[in-house]
């Protein structure tokens, strides 16, 4: 058994679920013949045929809406956005149709919406989106964000088996990252939706993060240990909806200092809610301000120097962590 990439883990999850359950199918733009813009789906068309791996016209409302229609029939569609940025073109289908279906009718809509998200690959303003905050605010849809190959596979399987609409955000920067290659269990497994994981235990400070920023946070945490001999805990949320409040609370009660890190822009981001939860529930436990490291409130820029300045990274996390530690 060989170590596989984050990208291959996603493909494996789909293949295994489609083999396991004939109600699972994939639809989207260029998902079949081409295998997806990043070749995530390579081999699926050959194995499952054009009826279960559907190349659609360029029409996000049709893709997501059809997924809803199939889901309420009891199928488990996976709707792929060629880039997650295009989810804005099917927005209404998600927030008004899919998310409210069970609540208003008792009919579950088990479906997954997935696609390449995030920046760091010179994608520019329309191919680098971190869309989680919009859907984090929409009751009725779950949101998961894998940061490792193991989770990429386990969370996608869990999402496919979930009876609700699940937004699965895969980070294109992690797709082929060599450091993320992993040997995965040969037997079937899922990563339950709603469980955060401590990537690095620590005593002096908790970093709450998810997605690609988990790796930047770990890098910063290592430096802080070496250079400042600080013990920083890194909690990978993995699932944003539902949120693992116990894990967050447990960690912050121990460390008493919190740094929140995400790639998405600052204002109104997921980090704001994390901070608000702590400021309300754990006020007595806080020994310092709740700090956030996130992208500035601007659209996502293309030019390397701008993208570099825009994205949070280990260096920026380090600065904030030291400031917080000194508090």
């Amino acid at each position: 058994m060989t170590a596989i990439t984050y990208l291959e883990a996603i493909g494996q999850a789909m293949r295994e679920e489609m083999r396991r359950d004939e109600s699972v199918f994939l639809l989207g733009e260029d998902v079949g013949t081409y295998g997806g813009a990043f070749k995530v789906n390579v081999g699926l068309l050959e194995e499952f045929g054009a009826e279960r791996v559907i190349d659609t016209p360029m029409a996000e409302a049709a893709i997501i809406g059809s997924a809803v229609g199939a889901a309420i029939m009891g199928m488990r569609p996976i709707a792929e956005m060629q880039f997650i940025d295009f989810i804005t073109c099917g927005f209404d289908q998600i927030v008004n149709m899919a998310s409210k279906f069970y609540w208003r009718s008792g009919i579950p809509a088990p479906m997954v919406i997935r696609g390449p998200s995030g920046g760091g690959v010179k994608g520019g303003p329309f191919h680098s989106l971190s869309p989680e905050a919009w859907f984090f605010h929409v009751p009725g849809i779950k949101v998961v964000v894998p940061s490792t190959a193991y989770d990429a596979k386990g969370l996608l399987k869990a999402a496919i088996r979930d009876n609700n609409p699940v937004l699965y955000l895969e980070h294109k920067l992690l797709y082929r990252m060599p450091e993320l290659r992993e040997e995965l269990p040969s037997e079937d497994y899922v990563v339950p939706i709603g469980e955060a994981i401590i990537r690095r235990p620590g005593e002096d400070m908790t970093i709450l993060t998810y997605g690609a920023m988990v790796h930047q946070s770990l890098k910063a945490a290592r430096t802080l240990e070496e250079q400042d001999d600080m013990s920083v805990e890194v909690l990978d949320l993995r699932s944003l909806v539902p949120l693992d409040r116990e894990a967050i609370t447990e960690s912050v009660k121990r460390t008493n200092k919190v740094l929140i890190v995400h790639e998405d822009t600052l204002t109104g981001g997921v980090g704001a809610e994390l901070s608000a939860i702590l400021a309300e529930d754990l006020f007595e436990y806080l020994d310092g301000p709740i700090m956030r490291v996130a992208a500035p409130d601007a659209p996502f820029p293309y030019a390397p120097p701008l993208e570099e300045a825009f994205l949070p990274n280990a260096g920026k996390i380090l600065v904030a962590a030291r400031k917080l530690a000194a508090y």
Partner: protein, 326 residues
């Protein structure tokens, strides 16, 4: 009424409708429960939406009715997904998806019809052209004479018909249904009718030229069908009285049932946002209503879905069949 009911009359068991806000007749023709409708309008705790919604956005998959939302046009891609499932499951059932003249101008209408056509999905699209979208007359909505021509943009057959003549409607829709059922893909029928009253109760509709309304009132589909039945000697005064009595009984029953039904409990306001885990049945397959499936019953209540008439009110069902036979 002629359009929505006439169209629904052409369907069979296993077919699924995706009705919109004007399609009460389609609901009832397909067995929709008058009690459920009344409970829904009165926002009772036992309504299909448990009081979450107050409009005709009701239905359940086991009985072939897809509940819609207010965003018009958005139900058409959903209809595609339902039909796609039928196609994948190699069924000979079809989907009927009506929409208004206004809805034909929305993006989802275009994306839905095009996808249906490319995938050769078994769908019959019914365009209920009633002359207005709220206060907006058709000439402010599109620059074509017949919305049936929009079918040409998708390579599907389209025809238009007098939407106030129930028999003509059935005739045209049957052709479309036949086309869809035989695996040739979707078809569209435009039913030309008119909204003689306001868009909603609040709307006085003073923007409608009186003579235009007069003209259409003369074309009243019910009066016309009635006259036809009388002429054919099918509808005698006795039969008519009998039917009216039945209908009145059904409505009275529904109203009093709803009036006696409880309001929803405010304490449940945050409930039912997420569906529980467990196996899901593919609707329409044998055993799909086995309680072990999460979608077999309404898991919010643990009871069967209640959007379709049960024995207590089956009179309407019978009613529909009656009309059906003629």
């Amino acid at each position: 009424e002629a359009a929505t009911i006439g169209a629904a009359m052409t369907l069979r068991d296993g077919d699924i409708i995706v009705p919109q806000h004007r399609d009460l007749g389609m609901h009832l023709t397909r067995g929709g429960s008058p009690r459920a409708v009344m409970c829904q309008w009165m926002a009772r705790g036992n309504s299909p939406t448990l009081g979450r919604d107050g409009t005709l956005h009701i239905g359940d998959m086991h009985h072939g009715i897809v509940p819609s939302i207010s965003m018009l046009g958005e139900s058409l891609p959903v209809a595609c997904g339902v039909a796609l499932t039928m196609k994948m499951r190699k069924r000979d059932t079809i989907v009927m998806a009506p929409c208004g003249d206004g809805a034909t101008n929305t993006g989802p209408f275009h994306e839905g019809l095009n996808f249906a056509s490319v995938q050769k999905l078994p769908i019959v699209f019914i365009v209920e052209n009633n002359g207005y979208a709220y206060s907006t007359p058709t000439y402010k909505q599109f620059a074509i004479e017949n919305l049936s021509d929009r079918a040409k943009a998708y390579g599907m057959p389209g025809e238009h018909v007098d939407g106030n003549d129930v028999l003509k409607v059935m005739d045209a829709v049957e052709r479309a249904v036949e086309h869809a059922r035989s695996g040739k893909g979707p078809a569209l029928v435009e039913c030309k009718t008119f909204r003689v009253r306001g868009h909603s109760e609040a709307d006085k509709a003073d923007y409608v030229p009186p003579e235009l309304r007069e003209e259409w009132l003369r074309k009243d589909p019910i009066k016309r069908f009635e006259a036809y039945l009388v002429e054919k000697g099918i509808l005698t005064d006795a039969v008519k009285a009998e039917i009216e009595a039945k209908v009145k009984a059904v409505v009275d029953d529904a109203v009093s049932f709803a009036e006696q039904s409880p309001a929803p409990d405010g304490a449940t306001v945050a409930d039912y946002v997420y569906a529980p885990g467990g196996p899901i049945a593919i609707i329409g397959e044998p055993g799909a209503t086995d309680p072990r499936y999460v979608n077999a019953l309404d898991t919010r209540t643990g009871k069967p879905f209640n959007t379709v008439a049960d024995d207590a009110e089956s009179i309407t069902h019978f009613e529909a069949q009656e009309v059906g036979k003629r």
